[in-house]
Symmetry: C2
Subunit: 191 residues, 2 copies
């Protein structure tokens, strides 16, 4: 495999990893599952990813994190007041889980709850992603002072991750819309 074909295989493996992690976390994204879902030859895994499963997972999470940032930016741009921004954000996530028939969660959240498998490298990747997302959310708000604004952005992230957990089990986007309504109240009050 050379050039485009090779980079195509590598990319398909990363896409398959993101999708598997969104489906069942780190433990669901084993080498065999990645090979099966991507259609890439098994022998090519360690050619593309000498660090094996952990390297694939770390690269996949980094790509995923960039996409979430674009998604957050797009959704937050949809509102004028702080309250509207919050509602627009949670509505966007609600539509996202509805469109995926409640079968896909946040890859970072799902991997986080699998961390017992001794993967300190991945923990750092997740912590960085959450820090980046919080900083990005904070840039869209001004709740009086920087510390409170960052704390509020942290609450928004917490609610998103928790709503993913509940949405999956309840097959409902209600946890997102419910959180959006309450957090919009907080944001409006502080803005």
């Amino acid at each position: 495999m050379k050039g485009d074909a090779a980079s195509g295989s590598r990319e398909r493996m990363l896409e398959a990893t993101i999708d598997l992690m969104r489906g069942s976390g780190l433990t669901g994204a084993g080498i065999n599952e990645i090979v099966r879902a991507s259609g890439a030859p098994k022998g090519s895994v360690y050619h593309f990813f000498p660090g094996g499963k952990l390297q694939i997972a770390a690269e996949a999470l980094a790509i995923y994190s960039e996409r979430v940032q674009a998604f957050l930016d797009g959704a937050l741009a949809g509102g004028r007041s702080a309250g509207e921004k919050v509602r627009a954000l949670f509505d966007a996530f609600a539509r996202r889980v509805e469109e995926g028939d409640f079968r896909r969660s946040c890859a970072a959240g799902a991997v986080s709850l699998d961390l017992d498998v001794e993967v300190e490298e991945l923990r750092a990747v997740l912590a960085d992603a959450f820090a980046d997302w919080t900083a990005l959310i904070a840039r869209h708000f001004d709740l009086g002072d920087a510390r409170r604004t960052k704390s509020f952005a942290g609450l928004v992230l917490t609610a998103i991750e928790g709503a993913y957990v509940r949405a999956r089990a309840e097959r409902s986007s209600k946890p997102f819309r419910e959180a959006g309504t309450w957090l919009a109240e907080l944001a409006e009050r502080r803005a």
Copy 2:
């Protein structure tokens, strides 16, 4: 195995399953892992649990759900005003993750994010647990009318589940304390 010895093995398998699920969700709680962690003879698994892994997981989640209800009740009894109750609850969870060195999450949350493995039976067990926990939280508050109170209880549950996700990755109890502070503001305002 008879009598006490048998019920001891069965109980140890369920305890091991709860612990494994808190560590890495459903995919981490395979039959082999349960046998290894419980020290029970492998041959006894299908004797005690004819339904195999799904039966063990469903029973373990039901036991876990009862314990969470006792934990929620105890923590919420610690405050007088609505705001104090919220803070007491999130502080209790913060201490819980600190004491466990951030290595144990909510078993129901971790299994929820693993649900891609086609287990509709377990999804219903999780949805019931979340409904029971929300109803229990709601009984500790009165935010004007029943609908708003239940909705607020739902937000509390969402924040707990999300804080578990973040606490694990960030090795910090801050997401719990942060959410407790904000949600206490909401509760005080409405009480």
